[in-house]
């Protein structure tokens, strides 16, 4: 079981003038094992902050996050993260980027390379194992970043707008590949995006957050099998519904 339980999580950032910005307030959410959920919401609603709290990179001001009934107190390789910015270590070859987490665990080189090769193969970049990140395109870099997170065999994969910087075509292809990886590895995925289209295409449930201070406004279950047809009427209908929800809450501000 790799469920994530978010209970009454709030986050306040201190400002320079002494007051605070309340980014999140009273967020309650349960994420099931092997579930794929997307966090969407108007910009500034704290979806990235929520993801970073789950990762342990930020500490919640109130409430708690537990993964497998263990409280999150700090970053841990059991919760893999893929960042929006390119985060590969440019001084390491692709293979040693993927093997980084295993190296930190003290796994011997041969063994960690075997594991890294496996995940590199899974994202289809075996032929780039000895390349440096600067030799890769944006989409390839994010695929390596995903392989790097998976190589640690995390319970949960946290993704912060990982395809945000990619062009539309690459983005669609990456979404397809991510679903393939998800089906193969059976990870729980929490995916932050500002693209509703992406959320409808990918997730089991879409979590719509309200504007700041962010809290769960609406949960939309998407029961369809995959791969999904973006051009279908029902797809467009759900997308329209979510977009309107975000729009209205933003205008109500």
């Amino acid at each position: 079981m790799s469920g994530v339980r978010i209970a009454n999580v709030g986050k306040a950032f201190p400002k320079e003038d002494g007051t605070v910005t309340q980014a999140l307030e009273g967020v309650n959410l349960e994420i099931g094992d092997t579930e794929f959920i997307c966090l969407v919401g108007p910009s500034g609603c704290g979806k990235t902050t929520l993801l970073r709290i789950i990762a342990g990179l930020e500490t919640a001001t109130t409430g708690s996050v537990t993964v497998d009934d263990r409280a999150v107190t700090g970053p841990d390789p059991k919760r893999g993260m893929v960042f929006q910015e390119y985060s590969l270590f440019p001084w390491r070859r692709v293979i040693d980027n993927v093997a980084f987490g295993l190296e930190m665990k003290g796994v011997p080189r041969e063994e960690r390379w075997r594991t890294a090769d496996h995940y590199l193969d899974m994202v289809g970049l075996s032929q780039f194992r000895d390349a440096y990140p600067f030799e890769l395109s944006g989409g390839m870099r994010q695929r390596v970043a995903i392989a790097r997170a998976l190589a640690n065999d995390p319970d949960v994969l946290l993704m912060d707008e990982p395809f945000g910087a990619l062009d539309a075509q690459t983005r669609n292809r990456m979404q397809k590949e991510l679903l393939f990886l998800w089906e193969q590895t059976k990870k729980t995925i929490v995916f932050v995006t500002h693209s509703v289209d992406e959320a409808v295409y990918l997730s089991d449930r879409i979590i719509v957050l309200s504007p700041r201070p962010g809290s769960v406004q609406e949960i939309i279950v998407i029961p369809w099998s995959r791969p999904r047809d973006r051009t279908s009427a029902e797809f467009a209908e759900v997308r329209r519904k979510v977009l309107r929800m975000i729009d209205e809450s933003e205008n109500a501000q």
Binding site: A55, F89, E103, M104
Partner: protein, 258 residues
């Protein structure tokens, strides 16, 4: 003819032209070797110095002074730069001290170098250290301050669970380009300090000492020989370092860095 050979040929031609013009001015316009030694004066001075065998010995002594100073600057500058760049308390604590010491010109340390170390290689090394330490320190410091946050966070979520691991596996490699260019600057400063230190009597050997000694002897062609050797050796050290950095340390970077 490709661009590379064209560049080389033109470079050689320019140097030859300078030598010819120099020779003509020295011989026919100035006419006194004491004011401006000619190319041939310098060449024969070089030949006789080479014959006496002191050239190589003095070069080695200077390199030893330089090596001591640079090594000490590296051994202290990099770790202190890391501490100040990574730990805020260390930054707050050490910054005022550094800021007061840094503007002191390295050559102002020469009296104390002599008093503390006597006329030894360490004394000369100390002056070079005084010049090379701060560029290395500040480059390491800013290299560490500029490590992208996402690298540090990636390191954390991938299992670096101590400052030591984050420094060793993330921040230090990320800061290597900055540190390398700091070292290059430090070597330039250190090389200048070397000549001054030896000239001011910190040492009775070395290229800088010989340059000054020959000035007292009014052997101006010899002075030019030492000037040229100092320039050339500095150039070679810089080239070797840059080559090493680009080929070995920074293969992961596209293009020239240091």
């Amino acid at each position: 003819m490709n661009l590379q050979t064209q560049k080389r040929l033109l470079g050689v031609a320019a140097l030859a032209a300078v030598a010819i013009i120099w020779q003509i001015i020295a011989e026919y316009v100035v006419g006194r070797s004491f004011i401006l030694p000619s190319v041939t004066d310098v060449a024969s001075a070089f030949a006789s110095l080479l014959g006496s065998g002191t050239l190589l010995a003095d070069t080695m002594v200077s390199l030893e002074h330089f090596g001591i100073g640079m090594l000490a600057a590296l051994l202290l500058g990099v770790p202190i730069g890391i501490l100040m760049g990574w730990f805020r308390v260390a930054d707050f604590l050490l910054d005022p001290i550094i800021e007061i010491l840094r503007p002191i010109p390295p050559l102002a340390w020469i009296p104390f170098a002599i008093i503390w170390f006597g006329l030894t290689t360490q004394a000369a090394g100390f002056v070079i250290f005084a010049g090379a330490f701060f560029p290395i320190l500040t480059a390491t410091y800013s290299g560490f301050r500029d490590v992208p946050r996402v690298f540090v966070e990636a390191g954390k979520v991938l299992g670096c669970d101590s400052s030591f691991e984050l420094i060793r596996y993330v921040a230090l490699p990320a800061a290597v380009p900055a540190i390398a260019s700091g070292i290059r600057i430090a070597m330039g400063v250190g090389w200048m300090c070397l000549v001054a230190a030896e000239m001011f009597g910190v040492s009775s050997y070395g290229l800088g000492y010989q340059l000054w000694h020959n000035y007292y002897l009014h052997q101006m062609p010899n002075v030019v020989v030492y000037m040229l050797i100092l320039g050339l050796t500095g150039l070679i050290i810089d080239r070797i370092f840059r080559n090493y950095v680009d080929k070995q340390l920074l293969r992961w970077r596209a293009g020239e860095v240091a």
